[in-house]
């Protein structure tokens, strides 16, 4: 009782009230000017158009696109770099709808639900209408998602001020277990991937004592740099997937897209408030849950929209509500997925995990003080995402037809191009061949592991959160040594207990859902075989 009383003490309540007052100050409006600086604005436009094209290209996931872009941000200021990455993150998710609608190949996992009705509309000669509805609903969902990011993040950040090293250690562990258990088909393999990532993060010289840890060859002396690792883990397995198709690749026919009046599409969106609301609400909630990602958001929103529709039988036959619900959900997820990232270092999606790497290499450490230490960087970045949603709608509708043509680029060119980009990207970080070797070795290893059910996202999160968890652990151990010992410091206190329970709950939930999946697997296999 004492524990819970201290957790919900008046002091905590007062902190939350103060946080709300800060949030209601609309501080973000003061940093809009930074977005309109010439270089920043050009990067926003370039990132949006580039992201739309990359998103529309099947085989190039948003996560890989953002990972490959990170080396290009080294020459930029942190604000400019983050604007580029944020624009790419936003528009790759929306761009994936182009190939989902016109080619029936989702550009990203987040667009799987869009392909169900979007392609059926395109086949019926309503491709332009489907694209308009897709980008408009993405834009509306995205704006609401970023507004949630704007108003929720400062509140959570000020609440996070109460966290000490032991709490931050448990939060880092929670990040790995949540994404490890949710973003993986196998519970054990998801957590194992997280463990491998945590171990990889300890390679190199120890910061405090300078001791060598796991340096098996010279290239590992400096440890494993996040960026070559990200490039290797996300780009090389996709290249190998492309190579696995061999020479027998048929070029997909693109459907003709007759013109459709944009004003009609805008009116239709206005009348589709129900699907739009379902998609936006579900996308926002899913985005706030660490590790779940856009794929779940789109599919859950599509399913709920169908259940609540007056005409559920039309879903799957080219029904506009299906496209609107799925697309508003997967873009509404983007903003909220950054709330736990910016405040607690827990990314809401695999792409947000890569974005965390981008923040760290620019010296920006997410946490309670991010809005006091780097207000101009963070607010300009968030504002650029808000403006990016509008640009994404404008450029998305204008370039959709061209993006679809690029999306049909032959797979061998994409495989060769991504290989060369990965080599250059990994090398340019520290101008080191060792980084290229590490990138390639991790990539090939990840491809093999993926083929046996392991997942890259928890491994990456372990790699990114490992150093933070390690530092908090060492700092906490020092405090514990001066106080009542590590057991009392790490395992007692209301917040520690709540966080440990959350770690255990995420593991238990994942174990339970895996058991359920395991029981239903034979039925699922039967239906797959029948198909």
């Amino acid at each position: 009782m004492k524990t819970f009383a201290s957790l919900f003490s008046l002091h905590s309540l007062a902190q939350i009230v103060v946080a709300w007052e800060g949030a209601s100050g609309l501080e973000f409006l003061g940093y809009f000017g930074g977005v309109f600086e010439p270089i920043a604005f050009m990067l926003l436009i370039g990132g949006t158009i580039g992201g739309l094209i990359l998103g529309a290209t099947p085989g190039l996931s948003p996560t890989m696109a953002v990972a490959l872009l990170i080396p290009f941000t080294f020459q930029l200021t942190p604000t400019q770099g983050l604007i580029l990455l944020g624009a790419a993150y936003t528009s790759t998710v929306a761009g994936g709808a182009v190939s989902a609608i016109l080619l029936k190949i989702p550009g990203a996992p987040a667009n799987i639900a869009t392909a169900l009705d979007g392609n059926a509309m395109a086949v019926k000669g309503e491709g332009a209408r489907a694209l308009h509805l897709s980008f408009l609903s993405s834009g509306i969902g995205g704006v609401i998602g970023v507004l949630l990011l704007i108003f929720l993040t400062p509140v959570l950040a000020k609440w996070a001020l109460a966290f000490g090293p032991s709490h931050l250690f448990w939060i880092a562990i929670l990040g790995v277990t949540v994404i490890g258990s949710l973003d993986s088909k196998s519970f054990v393999k998801g957590l194992l991937s997280g463990c491998i990532g945590l171990w990889l993060s300890t390679i190199g010289y120890d910061d405090i004592q300078g001791a060598e840890r796991f340096i098996f060859f010279d290239a590992l002396e400096g440890g494993i740099h996040i960026i070559p690792a990200l490039i290797g883990l996300f780009a090389i397995p996709q290249v190998m997937e492309m190579l696995a198709k061999g020479r027998n690749q048929t070029l997909i026919e693109q459907i003709d897209v007759p013109p459709h009046a944009f004003s009609d599409s805008a009116r239709e969106i206005g009348k589709s408030g129900k699907a739009l609301t379902i998609g936006t609400v579900i996308g926002s909630i899913v985005g706030l849950i660490p590790g779940v990602g856009g794929q779940i958001a789109g599919l859950v929103a599509y399913d709920q929209s169908r259940k609540m529709s007056k005409t559920p039988e039309k879903f799957g036959t080219g029904h506009a509500e299906g496209v609107i619900a799925a697309e508003s959900a997967n873009n509404a997820m983007v903003g909220p997925s950054l709330v736990p990232l910016l405040t607690l270092s827990i990314p809401g999606s695999p792409t947000a995990a890569v974005l965390l790497g981008g923040l760290l290499i620019h010296g920006i450490f997410p946490g309670s003080d991010i809005f006091t230490k780097h207000p101009e960087v963070v607010w300009t970045f968030i504002n650029s995402m808000l403006l990016g949603q509008i640009l994404m709608v404008v450029f998305g509708i204008a370039t959709a037809a061209y993006a679809a043509k690029i999306a049909r680029a032959p797979v061998p060119i994409m495989a060769a191009g991504v290989t060369v980009l990965a080599v250059f990207g990994a090398y340019s970080v520290q101008q080191s061949m060792g980084d290229v070797h590490i990138m390639f070795a991790l990539g090939v290893g990840m491809y093999v592991l993926q083929k046996f059910g392991f997942s890259a996202a928890p491994l990456v999160l372990g790699l990114i959160l490992g150093p933070l968890a390690g530092d908090y652990f060492v700092n906490g151990s020092m405090i514990a040594a001066a106080q009542d010992g590590p057991w009392v410091y790490f395992f007692t206190g209301a917040l520690n207990i709540v966080l440990i329970m959350l770690v255990l709950a995420s593991v238990a939930y994942s174990f339970w859902s895996n058991m359920l999946q395991g029981r239903s697997a034979p039925e699922q296999l039967k239906s797959e075989a029948a198909e």
């Binding site: 080396p71 060769a416 060369v420 250059f424 101008q431 046996f452």
Partner: protein, 153 residues
Amino acid sequence: MTSSRAQHVVPAGVVLALAILVAWLSFTQEPADSFLFPRIISVFFVALAIWNFARAALGMAKVGGGIDMGTAGRIFPGLIIMSVTVFWAAKALGFYVACTLAFFLIFSLYDPAPHSQLGSWLRRIVVTVAFMAVIYALFAMLLQVQTPRGIFL
């Protein structure tokens, strides 16, 4: 033992061996303070790896279809090109020359267009030169990345 089970046992065994190696190094290396965090990780790493190996050995590992011989055979030539580029050619021949060759070879090997037509070879050369020109403009001129120079550029 079925082929599927054998396919899962091998990687599970490799992961278990890695986990044991990490644990052994963590608990035997000095100074102990530097290995405190790796020790905690390695305990969970070994426990999960044993669980994963047991599931694979008992035929309970269902996730992941493994790599069949056909897939391995299709990947192999590309993997050899990438390996030679990364571990030898980039430094020996020069970064740009090695990457140009890698791009051209991967594109040519996996291009469905017939290898007997002159037109398709010309197309491959043009695409390779155009792509590498963009890469040179981006990395050498814009980002000013100093790449290793081997015999060539």
